[in-house]
Amino acid sequence: MSGVLSDSFSIYGEQFTSRLLIGSALYPSPAIMADSIVASGAQVVTVSLRRQQSAAAGDDFWQLIKDTGLKILPNTAGCHSVKEAVTLAQMCREVFATDWIKLELIGDDYNLQPDPFALLEATKILLAEGFKVLPYCTDDLVLCQRLADAGCEVLMPWGAPIGTGKGLLNQYNLKTIRERLPDTTLIVDAGLGLPSHACQALELGYDAVLLNSAIAGAGCPVTMGHAFKTAVDAGRFAYRAKAMPEKDVAAPSTPTMGMPFWHQEFGIKNKN
């Protein structure tokens, strides 16, 4: 059992046992955010940079995050151009003292869909500058291959558009990416709404999930954090256990051998 529990995955050489990466936004209060993060068991938390407004409020948030002791993953949320994303990544590296960057580069504001062309361009620039890039991308196999070819050790295809809670809209695409990139750390990022969605991602062989709204927007974020923690563990256990093959024809699980009254009273039409 200890071998199963010690199961870990790698993000650019660093090992993590929690397969849930959590966002720090949208919680009803800073205290609930902190408690939800703890309940989720996450070892990585996402943050961002914005124009300095109320220093007091920002200090409070940042102190809470630092107090968690978790690995910080800054993002470039809201960027629409390569230049914006690269500049924001550089600023993140200085403030948060990490080479990690969750690279978000939006191509369409309607569904916040990543721009695959700009994403690849920005990824190459940042990798050359020594960043460890975790690109938030669509579930396009060829895009993922190009990002991996560029040097990304981690890819984060979406399950569905950010904040929709729709779950894994295209399991075929996600499964294909998993099969074609067996050595890349894959994290489903965005679009999850239910713990079962996270469980499905892990069942597909994804290494982890990254989510925010599904926990922060729940009626009780702390309890939902725990629910996602449990679901991610279940999905990972299921993947490692290897699920039974799906069949189109029913097969009885209770042995038919020795069945009492077999074919004696009801006739063959009721055989089951």
Binding site: G23, V47, S48, T87, C92, V95, F96
Partner: protein
């Protein structure tokens, strides 16, 4: 003789008492740690702020940590 200089910080007009470097401007603006800064869309490492001379009309972005998903 003091010569003021007009710049923008985080989209707001700001008038510096003197022409000077980026560190002086951030001090006048009362920037609070932690932060990172960019001028005209270009990231300026903190180690270079002392020697980075501002020009009239420069646009400074002063960013600090916030929540993120």
């Amino acid at each position: 003789m003091k010569i003021s200089m007009k710049i923008t910080i985080n989209g707001q007009h700001f008038e510096l008492a003197n022409y000077g470097n980026l560190t002086q401007a951030l001090r006048e603006f009362a920037a609070k740690e932690p932060f990172a800064v960019a001028v005209n869309g270009q990231f300026i490492p903190r180690s270079q702020c002392d020697t980075y001379l501002l020009n009239e009309g420069d646009s400074i972005e002063l960013l600090s940590p916030i929540q993120g998903g």
